[in-house]
Amino acid sequence: MPVLEKEGAQVWRRRTTGEGMVRWFGWLIGVAVFVVCWQQISAATTWFFVWDAPRIANDIWTRATPPKWEYITQLGRPIWDTLNIATLGTLIALCLAVPVAFLAARNTTPSALFVRPIALLIIVSTRSINSLIWALLLIAIIGPGVFAGVVAIAIRSIGFCAKLLYEAIEEIDTTQVEAITATGASRWQVMAYGIVPQILPAFAGIAVFRWDINIRESTVLGLVGAGGIGLQLSSSLNVLAWPQVSLILVVILFAVVISEWVSAKVRGAII
C-alpha cells in the first residue's frame, strides 16, 4: 500500500507512481488502437450515404409497412423446413458430440496424448466457423437445399455441444465412479452407471439450449441457399419487396420468441 510523504503529511494512494504510469500507458495504447480502427472504418465508408441514412431508413419503413399479411400462405413450407433444419441438425450434432466429448474429457479419454488433441481440434475447428460458412461450403460440395442446411447446423453444433459436455464430464463426482468401479463393473458399465447419470441433466440442458440457438441460425441459412425461410427473405430482398421482407422478419421474431419460451420450459422441467 503506497503511502507518500507530501508536505509533511502522509497521503494514501491506491497505486504507486510506477503502477499508475503503466496503467495510463495501457489505456493510451488502447485508445490509440481504437482510434486507428475507427479511422480505417471511416475511410472505407461513403459518408454521403450515412448522412442520407435517416431519409433512406424512413423510406424503407414507409415501404415495408404494413407487412403483406397474405404472403404468409406461402411461408408454411419454409417455416417447416427451418424447424426441421434446426431440430435434425441438433439431433445429429448431439449424436456426434457425445463420443467427441468423452474422447476430449481428461478423465474419460483413452489417451491424453493422441486422442484428446484430435478431439479438441474437432471441437475448436467446428466451433470457430459460423454455420453460414459451413453452409456455403456444403452448398459448393453437395448443392443447395435443406440437406446442406441440416449438415451445416449439425457440424457447427458439434463443437459447441461437445465443449460444454466435456466440461461437464470433467466436473463429475469421482467417488461415485470409484464406487461403481469397486463393484467389479466393466469399463462400459462404469460409464453407464457412474458417469452418464451425472451428466444427463447437463446434456439435456445443452441440447435444448443449442436447439434454441439453431432455430435462430437456421432462419438465415437460406440467404446462402441452404433452405428454410431465409430463401424467401433473400428473394424478397433481391426484388426489393419490402412488405414481404417485413412479414418474414415478423415471422422470424415470432419463431425466436417461441423457441426461447419452449427451451426455457423444457430446461425448467428437467432441472
Binding site: I41, T45, A140, V146, F147, R216
Partner: protein, 271 residues
Amino acid sequence: MSTVRLEDKLGQGWKKPPFVKRAGLRWALIIGFVAYLIAAVLTIEVDWGRVYVGLDRGWQFILSFTRPDFVSRWSDIWEGLLESIMMTVAASVVGIAISIPIGLGAARNIAPLPVYVVCRGIVAISRALQEIIVAILLVAIFGFGPLAGFLTLSFATIGFLSKLLAEDIEAMDRVQAEAIKASGARWMQWINYGVQPQVMPRLVGLSMYRIDINFRESAILGLVGAGGIGATLNTAFDRYEYDTAAAILILIIGIVMGLEYLSGVIRAKVQ
C-alpha cells in the same frame, strides 16, 4: 405412510420408474416425437446423385487443408482480415461501453421501473434479431462497407453483454452494496464501491468472450456486404478455390484459438 411388506415384493419383477409418470402423456410424447421425426426426414429432399458427385469435391476440400494457399490472393485475404479485426475491436469497445449503462438500467435491484422497462426492451430487441438480419438492414440503410458491420456488431454486443451483466447484478450480494449505501455514498459512488467490485471479474470475462464472438461473426458479415473477411471467403468458394478458402479458414480458427487462450489467461488473472 403405507407399509411395504417384503413378502409382497419378493418374486415381483422390478422396473425403473419412468421419467414421465403419466403413461398417456409419456406415450403421446414418444409417438409425437417419432411421428415428427419421420415427417421431417421424409420432407427433406436429398438429391443423392448430387451428393455422390459432391463427395469427391468434399474430399478435394479436405485435402486442400494440407496445402492451404496463403500466397496467390494474399492481398485480398490480408485486407479482409484487417477489416474484420478493426470491426471487431471498434465494435467491442463501443458495444461494451454502451452495454454497461444499459446493463445497470436492466437490473431490477438498482434501476427504477421505467428505466428498467426501456433497457430490458433494448436488450430483448437486440437479442431477438440475428446479426445477419441486422446487417442486411444496416447495409440497406448505410450502404456497403465496414460501417454497417461495425454497427451490427456493436448492437449485438449490447444485447448480449447487457443481459448477462444485468443478471449478474441482480444476483450480487445485497449486504455489501447496502453497507456502502449506509456510509452515505452518492449513487455513482455506490455503484463504484458497492456494485462494481462484485461484478467486475465476470464483466471482464464476458467482454473477452464477446470479443471472441464478434470476431467470429465479423467473418460472415461480408456475405451480405457489411465488410470483413467473409466477402473474400465467399469469392473463394464461388471460384472453387478451395486452397484459398482453406487458408482463410485456418487463419480464422487460429485467431479464434488465440483469442480463447488470451481470454483464458485474462480471466484467470482477474478472478
